[in-house]
């Protein structure tokens, strides 16, 4: 299964290049939220798609009440053009697989003020509207499937797209994850006392919570032979996908990370690889106290081998982009494989001794050839979805 194109909208702006450049330049993109008035909130940070980038969308995609719908369409156009696949016309069997957490619901947030809630229109009640802009700019001939399984959404979409391609249901799977910054989510995390005041520091002993982000990540999947036959070259390969559930608690991961361990084993078994073959774990690492520790222990256990697993989270730079997070991370994994750079834990100051079982990448990152990357995601509700990626130029990764 080949990744033949990628597209991104992120706190770094428009484009997968902007995303990857921000990673390599170690830019921290969280900061005070400008889209909502958070002056009375104790923690006021987000990782917003910059206002200039939002304005630039006007030249690329039609307008829509849902910013997320426009992020998704822009990401899909970029990914299809990157893959060299015409976005219009019924001459190819193309399906769309999208993951989100809140779909169009954040449109409702605009009515939050003081006093009565001023309810804008009804787009917020229609999750399918998330796909409206994409449908305007891309001719979809296969199925469109919208997943909302919590924060593993992006990986769920990649996995479903990969299954559809493998089954021959579609030739081209446009797989994406998307979210727009939501004041509802900021209010929720404020009440849960889970927001960092200044910086997300995944796996740091002084981590103080997460910061919500936003954006869209889109990957185009095709069979390698089809891609090669039309003169293309895989950017990377999807070696395996696996999903599981903690079946434990609505908001807390299982203390042993059971679901995560199960998906890591599932991916390795399916790809016939071992722990030692995994060169980098692109972690979920949200910067919350309990979750990072559980993830570190689970990864150490699931990938026990000759060396400690090499782990970093990009959420110190991009915040937690919720529905977009796993898809953006998959794109970072694709670029890391192509460029031979393991991104660092940019905001890590003092590694948590409780995370000693994993090899936390220093902020500068590491120049090293990568063959295989594991990218994992989980969220409220206990759903876990993990994707194993390999280099585009190798048969087995």
């Amino acid at each position: 299964m080949a990744v033949s194109g990628v597209g991104a909208v992120s706190a770094a702006g428009l484009g997968a290049d902007a995303l990857w450049t921000a990673v390599t330049e170690r830019r921290v993109l969280t900061g005070p939220v400008t889209r909502f008035d958070m002056s009375r909130y104790p923690a006021r940070c987000g990782a917003e798609v910059p206002a200039g980038a939002v304005a630039d969308l006007d030249a690329m995609v039609p307008g829509h009440e849902s910013l997320a719908a426009r992020f998704l369409a822009a990401g899909a156009l970029e990914a299809l053009r990157h893959a060299g696949i015409p976005e219009q016309g019924r001459g190819r069997l193309l399906g769309v697989f999208v993951g989100t957490v809140m779909a169009t619901r954040p449109v409702l947030d605009r009515g939050i003020g003081s006093g009565r809630l001023d309810v804008p229109g009804r787009t917020w009640a229609d999750p399918d509207a998330l796909l409206a802009t994409l449908r305007e700019v891309v001719t979809v001939t296969g199925p469109t499937v919208l997943f909302a399984p919590g924060c593993a959404a992006g990986n769920s979409a990649v996995a479903a797209g990969a299954r559809a391609v493998a089954a021959g249901e579609v030739d081209v799977a446009v797989c994406g994850g998307v979210s727009e910054l939501s004041l509802e989510i900021l209010a929720m995390f404020t009440s849960l006392r889970a927001l960092a005041v200044d910086t997300v520091r995944p796996f740091d002993v002084n981590r103080r919570g997460t910061i919500p982000g936003e954006g869209a990540g889109v990957l185009v999947l095709e069979r390698v032979d089809r891609l090669v036959a039309r003169g293309g070259r895989p950017l990377a390969r999807i070696l395996a996908c696996a999903a599981a559930a903690d079946a434990h608690n609505p908001t807390q991961p299982h203390p042993d990370g059971n679901g995560l361990v199960s998906t890591i084993h599932g991916c390795l078994d399916r790809a016939r690889l071992t722990s030692d073959d995994v060169d980098w774990v692109c972690a979920h690492g949200t910067g919350t106290q309990a979750s990072d520790g559980i993830e570190a222990r689970a990864v150490a256990k699931a990938l026990a081998g000759r060396r400690r697993p090499v782990v970093s989270s990009i959420k110190g730079q991009f915040g937690h982009a919720e529905g977009a997070a796993a898809a953006l991370e998959a794109i970072v994994a694709v670029r890391a494989l192509a460029d031979g750079l393991v991104p660092g834990n940019v905001t890590l100051v003092e590694p948590d001794p409780a995370c000693g079982g994993i090899d936390l990448v220093e902020p500068a990152g590491r120049r090293a050839p990568l063959g295989v990357v594991l990218s994992q995601a989980f969220g409220f509700g206990g759903g876990v979805s993990t994707v194993l990626l390999g280099r585009g130029d190798r048969a087995t990764g």
Binding site: R40, A103, R105, R116, V140, A243, A247
Partner: protein
């Protein structure tokens, strides 16, 4: 690559629908039985500028949580999660009751060594009231004073998460949303997960709840649907009598002529003639259903017109109707479940029975009664 079509047998059906006591009841409706009257109910959203609205809706559906899964921890759950849990628990245990075959394990509540079970759930209303409540609280209370318990329930995945957590199901856990096709797509994804070995069996459901918030997302002119349905599925064996999920197809039809696209789709799945005795259609396009019915190839039953708009759960409930019908009619019987959205996004699934139930009480030991196979309920 293992074939995905024809791989799943239905092991149980759980229903929480207003005025529908069991699968046989649902089958009678599909066969043209009289529909219950639906009262007007008033919905309000205090502390907002949304005015009250009157909408035809059945009285709230009681979850009736089975004793085996009741207990502490349910009080804070949204009603839709409770409906989902109840329907899923019924579907998962129905097979334990009897013939013709069992869920690979005695029940999904006791999975033994049957392999991982997946949960796939379709909903467009789950979490919406909770999301709106947090928005209202963010407007009317100081920051940090919105309810911490409600917040995490404001996403779509409450039903799937609740089913997994309360029933201890640790396989893939997916929630699908969007239009009516989502519910059928959930069954397709379940078939894929089983066929690729990601899961040995699955609980596949859909649900909807009605509030002042959810009615804003529903089409005008339909009853606002509330309730849940769930199918328990696992691989079928060759020659095994029972109810099978057969051929399916997902596509996007050309919006300019949905009727022609639908006819092509029906031919793709069932050939030019014969085969399925009826089609259960989930769509908000009443005109399209009328056109299909006018073709007089087979009776067409319009889920939304009969039971109401259930949003993303519509496709799943269409499949549940087809299953209920096949369970109550003499085998072999085949019924199509079809979902079409205004965008052209569409899915179709063939549900069939063959062989005879080994118990006079029907496929799942419930009080299924035979229904007629004729009638044009549209």
């Amino acid at each position: 690559m293992p074939p995905v079509d024809d791989c799943l047998a239905v092991r149980g059906l759980g229903l929480r629908l207003p005025g529908v006591a069991d699968a046989a009841d649902l089958a009678r409706l599909v066969a043209g039985g009289p529909l219950p009257p639906v009262p007007l109910r008033r919905f309000e959203a205090p502390d907002t500028d949304l005015g009250p609205v009157d909408r035809r809706t059945q009285a709230p559906v009681e979850p009736r949580i089975p004793a085996a899964v009741a207990g502490r921890g349910l009080r804070a759950l949204p009603p839709e999660s409770l409906l989902a849990l109840a329907a899923a628990a019924d579907a998962g245990t129905a097979a334990a009751g009897g013939p013709p075959d069992r869920w690979l394990a005695p029940s999904v509540l006791d999975p033994a060594d049957a392999g991982p079970a997946a949960v796939l759930w379709a909903s467009s209303s789950a979490g919406l009231t909770e999301y709106a409540t947090i928005c209202v609280e963010a407007s009317t209370l100081d920051p940090g004073l919105s309810s911490p318990i409600i917040g995490p329930a404001s996403a779509f995945n409450g039903p799937a998460a609740t089913v997994s957590i309360r029933l201890g199901i640790d396989g893939p856990n997916e929630t699908l949303t969007g239009g009516t096709t989502a519910g059928l797509a959930a069954l397709v994804e379940a078939a894929r997960l089983v066929s690729y070995g990601d899961a040995a069996r699955a609980l596949v459901g859909g649900s909807a709840t009605v509030s002042r918030w959810s009615v804003a997302g529903l089409a005008d002119g339909f009853v606002a649907g509330e309730g849940a349905g769930c199918l328990a599925v696992s691989p079928g064996r060759d020659g095994e009598p029972g109810i099978r999920l057969g051929r399916f197809h997902r596509t996007t039809l050309d919006r300019s002529d949905l009727a022609a696209g639908c006819r092509d789709l029906l031919r793709t799945v069932c050939g030019p003639a014969g085969g399925p005795v009826a089609a259960v259609v989930s769509t908000l396009d009443t005109e399209l259903v009328r056109t299909l019915a006018d073709d007089r190839v087979r009776p067409v039953w319009h889920l939304e017109r009969a039971l109401g708009d259930f949003g993303a759960a519509g496709g799943l409930l269409a499949a549940a109707c087809a299953v209920a019908y096949c369970a109550s009619a003499p085998a072999p019987t085949s019924v199509l479940a079809l979902a079409i959205e205004p965008s052209g996004n569409a899915a179709i699934l063939e549900v069939s029975s063959w062989g005879a139930p080994t118990s006079s009480s029907g496929w799942w030991g419930d009080n299924s009664r035979s229904v007629g196979v004729s009638g044009s309920p549209t």
